[in-house]
Amino acid sequence: MFVGSVIIRTCRRKGCDMKRRDLLKNIILFIPVSGAFRATIQAAQANSDLNGYHPENHYYGMGIEVAKCIGCGKCIEACKIENNVPREPFFFRTWVERYIIKKDSSVAVESIHTGGKQPKETIEEKDILRSFFVPKTCNQCANPPCVQVCPVGATFSTDDGVVLVDRDRCIGCRYCIQACPFGARYLHPQTRTADKCTFCYHRVVKGLLPACVEVCPTQARIFGDLRSRASELVRFQRMNKIHVLKPYLNTEPKVYYSGLDGVVN
């Protein structure tokens, strides 16, 4: 009321004849109108940032055709360059595992490109039953435990189905790293915040493919929109028998594998 009477006094001094009732009426009108105006500006800003991209119209996933992966590691390289992932072999947004199933049904696994310093098991060729590569990345789960546990809401699911980390909000408690069943997260040594695959969100919103998909020479990785029946990913799902990693944990992964062996976890 004090502010109101000051304004009215000023008005009177200037010769305007606004009454107390009019002033109140104007204030009451001003609040919702300014709110709506602000919301419109914010929405316009958001739209201009995304160049007319509407997240709610998309829902992304990735397909991986295990048989096509040749373990060249181009995807790892491209990801590191595209996303400023530290070059050292302890930080990966995506990696490739080599599985060797031996005739005695034991399994040897290694991550290719971890710097070659991990002692490697030498396996005689005659002992090998079969061998294959499995590319791994964040599964962009529909029911993500990492999002559930983040105490400050720094990691979140977008409308278009990607799990992201807000590095300006992350406090670096690392609970999300503990909660991820797939080992897809790491603490970025420079930012001291959690980091993980974003499906190259900055590219995807511009209609480009994630870097790992773009460079894969055998097209073992398929990226697409699950909301579009015409997308390559939906076709991949239609044409293949699909499996996801650790389905029993009910995280509902959106990285779909075809031809995945039962030993892979």
Binding site: P89, P151, G172
Partner: protein, 400 residues
Amino acid sequence: MNQELTEKLTDLLSQVTGYIYPNEIEIHWSILIVVYPYVTGVVAGAFILASLVKVFNVEEVRPTYRLSLLTALSFLLVAPLPLNLHLGHPERAYEIFLTPNLRSAMAMFGFVYAWYLMGVLLLEIWFEYRGDLVVWSREKQFPMKWIYRLLSLFSNDISKRALEFDHKAAKAITIIGIPSAFLLHGYVGFIFGSVKANPWWSSVLMPIVFLMSAIVSGIALIIFLYMVITPIRGETIDMRCLDRLASFLFYAVIVDFSLEALDFVHRLYESEESVKILATLINQKLFMSLLIIQVLLGMIIPSAMLVAGRAWRLSEELRKLLYFTACILIQVGIFSTRWNVVIGGQLFSKSLRGLTTYKMEVIGSEGLMMALALLVLPFVILTILVKLIPPWKEASRQTS
């Protein structure tokens, strides 16, 4: 990138056995996160011991009532420090209060902690000491006079009626405090027990096991402090009190041990896909800390000592020696329990195919020295509190 970190991780890489996911080489929750549940455990345990006097009228243990409350407060004040020091961005810690994710167990920390500190512990201590603070503010000279006046929040009434009200209020707060203490430490157990990605942690028993081990560590610490402080004050130890405390400690150890054994047998019997890697974990990484320190030195031997003291009607001196040794062993055992949960749970890969190693830093914000400092700090705070508001002089009772 930080050269030191690269060297450390390269060194660790050579010690990996089997296959681990490439991001799993670094252990993320360090010794400080071992200190945290240990410290909050002592808080909950000491408070529950105090409640025995206030709510359940166990008069024998009254000599330790105020000491228990002050111990709980000293440890509670330290509890957030290891968490904060461990954060990648400690300066953003306040976000947990401002924008908590209500679906996150960890986000509840701020609220549970604030409630326990402000709503329970400080309030109970204030009501318990208010009469004394008024008396001291009248007896002492400047500046202590004013400190006591401030601590009593300038209250001045020590009539019989007012003191009775204090007593009733403290009792009511203790009744609320018991579930709150359960919440405080059960919640810490839930933080671990609810991580479905980690088979070593994921167990519905985890909060209960945490709670029981908290009670064990709390009672053991109070016995230790009582036995150290009383001779220093030139007083004699009240054996009735000590025997009673020792029996409570024994019961708590038995329940704790049974629950942990149940958890262990259950895992073994169910024999899920993780059983092989967990067996390897125990054999290769946790043999010393789990089987020798936690189970043998931390549970079996001390409980035998506690029983022996009573069963064979040993002399007072011998009983004291047994109780004292048992309490120290139990503290080491409970710290080891926390270690085995926190560090043990990160030593195996979620691929269930391999193990990594934890190399503790000595110096540094997440190193051994810092952990030791954080374990000593509650005792420093306790010394100050004991000097400021001595737990054994009930001044208002003597005057009224």
